[in-house]
Amino acid sequence: MITDKLQNLGRDTINNIAGFGRSGIMLFGALVGKPDFRKGFPLFIKQLYVIGVLSLLIIVVSGLFIGMVLALQGYTVLVKFGAEGMLGPLVALSLLRELGPVVTALLFAGRAGSALTAEIGLMKATEQLSGMEMMAVDPLRRIIAPRFWAGVVSMPLLALVFNAVGILGGHLIGVDWLGVDAGSYWSTMQANVDLYQDVVNGVIKSIVFAVIVIWIALHKGFDAIPTSEGISRATTQTVVTASLTVLGFDFILTALMFGG
């Protein structure tokens, strides 16, 4: 009884650590080596389109609505203290420091991460990856690397778009609907938001989340059991694991950046 439990625990631990190792080897094989820009760049642009541009719509719409909701909720509390002039910093700081990077990462995991896992998993199931190796094309360099770099580049850009649209959404509700003064909305925001402390730290967070989400998505796809059930499980795992890891790292990064 107890030995069975212990054996299960041990097997899970070993599998987990082996998974870490395989994901590390995968990333190392994909990224380390002499870059070939002539072949790699068109692949990178293609992935930038699939991962970045096609995610733009969901990012813009959710950014707009989250900014609008923040303004609406913030206003009802701030107006009790006669401090509705501070609506600008409230919306801007919550978006720049927290919601922008985190919600972008969660949406990105759902929108692009799951698609990547399914795509690569299906490539594995239909033995396209083995076919590439037969033709002396390294699938790590040709499939994994451009997707990784496209994800790492596009997520901070998406987060910036998310922040900007969210602040405009807050303006839409706060100023145009609830009647906060437009001048005080922008001026208190400018007085309270710092370029390095808030904007750049948000971008750094976003880059870290991008590496996490894209790495997990690629690894789960590359490591999927090549059956329809295995691919479906890998896709689910990508979204769940990436989201939880992002939230965990968000706490650590927030404590490091804004805690002291």
Partner: protein, 154 residues
């Protein structure tokens, strides 16, 4: 043709993200206006700085001319010394100028109000590193209420 379309869309995406960054940097964080540009340093000693913080604005008649660079304690007298960074374009304050710690609104944040003084032949212009002699400390609301209650008791 499809590669061309994709490349155009990717280009648009990059431009959009760059526009978002510049909007955040210029319109939201207001960088480049206060951070850059030449500035010079003045010092002022206070008895009590209240809630003044580093990067609090320094205003002349409501116009921001600089920011508080640092706040330290004098090693000999243990009084707060405020280091002020003032834009070089406002470099003609005479030594008769005074500095007061003021509050914007009843509960607002505190800032330094710089009041330019008079000029005649014997008055010199404050240069980089000089101290403003005439200072007024922050009004601490609790002390004020305490005094008021004490006076009422008499």
């Amino acid at each position: 043709m499809t590669t061309r379309k994709i490349e155009i869309l990717v280009g648009t995406f990059i431009v959009l993200a760059a526009a978002a960054f510049f909007m955040l940097a210029l319109k939201v964080a207001n960088a480049g206006v206060s951070g850059s540009g030449e500035s010079y340093v003045l010092y002022a000693k206070f008895d009590n700085i209240g809630g003044l913080k580093v990067r609090s604005p320094i205003k002349v008649g409501g116009v921001v001319v600089g920011r508080v660079a640092s706040i330290d304690l004098d090693r000999v007298y243990y009084t707060p010394v405020v280091k002020m960074e003032i834009n070089s374009q406002y470099s003609n304050f005479p030594e008769t100028s005074s500095v007061a710690i003021l509050t914007s609104g009843l509960l607002g944040e505190q800032y330094l109000g710089l009041q330019p003084g008079f000029i005649d032949e014997t008055v010199e212009i404050l240069a980089d590193g000089d101290s403003v002699q005439d200072t007024r400390s922050a009004i601490v609301l609790e002390e004020l209420i305490g005094q008021f209650l004490f006076n009422r008791g008499n």
